[in-house]
């Protein structure tokens, strides 16, 4: 059985402050400060963008700032989700994902 519809599993610290962010209009809850790519994966959002030439589905791949696959719009600017800490009220826009 595929676990929880493919969402990554994350354990936040007992004292972590959970905050809400918006992903293409949808509310997602995550611990403040968690890398955004992990927060999205834990919410089951693996498909982050489509490749510009082939339109193929892409998601976070290296989780260490190298591959650029997780570059999405955060509060209007293109950011690598794996390098961007979650903040309350963050507006996230995926790229080319319906």
């Amino acid at each position: 059985m595929i676990e929880r519809d493919g969402a990554f599993h994350r354990r936040a610290a007992p004292g972590a402050r959970m905050v809400e962010l918006t992903v293409d209009g949808r509310a997602v809850t995550a611990p403040e400060g968690e890398p955004l790519a992990t927060a999205l994966a834990a919410a089951g959002i693996l498909l982050l963008r489509r490749s510009p030439r082939a339109g193929a589905p892409r998601g976070a791949f290296c989780f260490m700032g190298v591959c650029q696959e997780c570059a999405i719009f955060v509060d209007g600017a293109l950011r690598q989700a794996c390098m961007t800490p979650v903040a309350a009220g963050m507006q996230v826009e995926l790229r080319g994902v319906p």
Partner: protein, 473 residues
């Protein structure tokens, strides 16, 4: 601002280089894009991570972070270095916009990145790197969705599988390019670092104890799925990594974790056109260094996995030696004082060589791996360039990798050729029937990482732009 030394990278090499140089009296500025020191191998957990357990990496990382915090090193974390100029000037984007530092000496310790040899479906969401999984486990308190297949080669395989199990995940299989015999051959050398050997055996036992199948001499044939990875098909390979035609097995998966070793970054020495050579065992092109980490460019030093894959223990020592060399070259350490500090590190580094070679050998690229990439499979993820297009460029007359880039856009995307570079070069060399060395390496270009133009701009008035004299009419 000016300082005596700039260190790029706060991992085991850069951190120890900064400490050694600062202890010898140099003023040191250390830049890293992560929020804390440790690099990838000793990566710090993010602040909100639930982290009851500890590990040798965690302890070593904490020790480095503590040592740096109580040192006089000017620590600049969360900085994206985008320009490294001669003399040396480093420009970085941080919380307050662009900042720059000048120093007569610079140590590049920018680390390595992972090599993943492409297979059909490797670009699907739900396929992540082996090193990515270590980041999730160590730093993010997260694990990929199960069932997980862990595939590839090298010591991270067992570590990641064990880590996922420990975090409560479900590992469907471990798929190892190496044979059990390859490991047995490596073990005596690995035994030169008993603590790490024990760690490796611990991982293996953990996997065995949970009944996870370990498929030696197998590799991923393809991943299937529409919008994400749903199924992985594996098949047996020979000692070169080429598929033997033996029977395939498939696993339904939540995630595939896959990695085939590490590639030294080396961007900074290449940017300065320091002398390099190709070293297959060390993962790719590496700068030519003396025993203390001096490159062929005066004042430029390099250390750590960014100059050839040797692992964290070697990085600590080589970083220390580079820091001491910078201090000595700056005239802050006498010959005898330098010798006193450097000799132990030099001796220890020599003792590590068998271990480093064994680990690197398990991760080195095998000839059959690249030969097995199908023609229609994407090699350059940023620009969706396939193996077939790279081969067509060879037929059209591309004889080296920078020409390949022009012909196909391979390596022109935002990862700046890091993910595809070594694979594309191997494919080009094979197509031309020449050695890998003959097709060269990407010319390094600034910025070191892509940077949003808006961040570069800062606040400005039009009248502030220093517009030079117009061209002649």
């Amino acid at each position: 601002m000016k300082s005596d030394l700039i260190v790029l990278g706060g991992g085991p090499a850069g951190g120890n280089a900064a400490l050694a140089a600062a202890a010898a009296g140099l003023s040191v500025v250390l830049f890293d894009e992560q929020p804390a020191a440790g690099g990838q191998v000793w990566r710090a957990p993010w602040a909100g991570k639930a982290d009851p357990h500890d590990s040798p990496e965690r302890r070593e990382g904490d020790a480095l972070r503590d040592a740096l915090a109580s040192s006089p090193v000017d620590l600049r974390f969360g900085r994206r270095v985008w320009s490294v100029g001669r003399a040396f000037r480093v420009d970085a984007l941080g919380p307050d916009g662009n900042e720059w530092v000048e120093a007569p000496r610079l140590i590049a310790a920018t680390g390595a990145h992972e090599r993943v040899v492409p297979f059909p479906g490797w670009t699907l969401p739900g396929v992540i790197g082996l090193a990515a999984a270590t980041v999730l486990l160590k730093s993010h308190a997260a694990r990929p969705a199960g069932p997980v297949v862990v595939a590839g080669c090298g010591p991270l395989l067992a570590a990641v599988a064990a880590g996922i199990l420990k975090a409560g995940g479900d590992v469907a299989a471990v798929v190892d390019l190496a044979s059990a015999r390859d490991w047995l051959v490596a073990v005596p050398h690995l035994a030169s670092r008993p603590s790490l050997l024990a760690q490796g055996l611990g991982w293996t036992l953990k996997i065995a104890g949970r009944g996870v199948p370990v498929l030696f001499r197998h590799a991923v044939r393809r991943v299937e799925g529409a919008e994400r990875a749903e199924r992985v098909v594996i098949a047996p390979v020979d000692e070169t990594g080429a598929f033997t035609g033996g029977s395939e097995r498939s696993f339904e998966i939540g995630s595939l974790v896959v990695g085939h070793g590490l590639v030294p970054g080396g961007e900074v020495p290449r940017l300065f056109r320091a002398k390099t050579r190709f070293d297959r065992l060390r993962g790719g092109h590496v700068p030519e260094l003396d025993a203390d980490g001096r490159t062929s460019i005066a004042g430029l030093y390099a250390a750590g996995d960014g100059v050839g894959i040797k692992g964290a223990a070697a990085a600590v020592l080589n970083g220390t030696l580079a820091g001491l060399a910078a201090a000595r070259d700056a005239g802050r350490l006498s010959e005898s004082e330098w010798r006193k500090r450097a000799e132990p590190a030099r001796t220890a580094a020599a003792g590590l060589a068998p271990f480093s070679d064994a680990i690197a050998g398990l991760m080195a690229l095998r000839a059959g791996q690249v030969a097995s990439v199908p023609a229609e499979t994407v090699v350059c993820r940023c620009e969706d360039v396939t193996r077939g297009e790279i081969e067509a460029a060879a037929v059209a007359g591309a004889t080296e990798v920078n020409q390949l880039k022009h012909f196909t856009r391979c390596g022109m995307g935002p990862c700046q050729g890091r993910m595809c570079g070594e694979t594309a070069a191997e494919i080009l060399a094979r197509s031309l029937g020449v050695e890998r060395e003959a097709v060269g390496q990407w010319t390094a270009r600034p910025p070191l990482r892509p940077v949003p133009l808006a961040d570069l701009l800062g606040r400005f008035d039009y009248s502030d732009i220093p517009i030079p004299k117009p061209a002649p009419l």
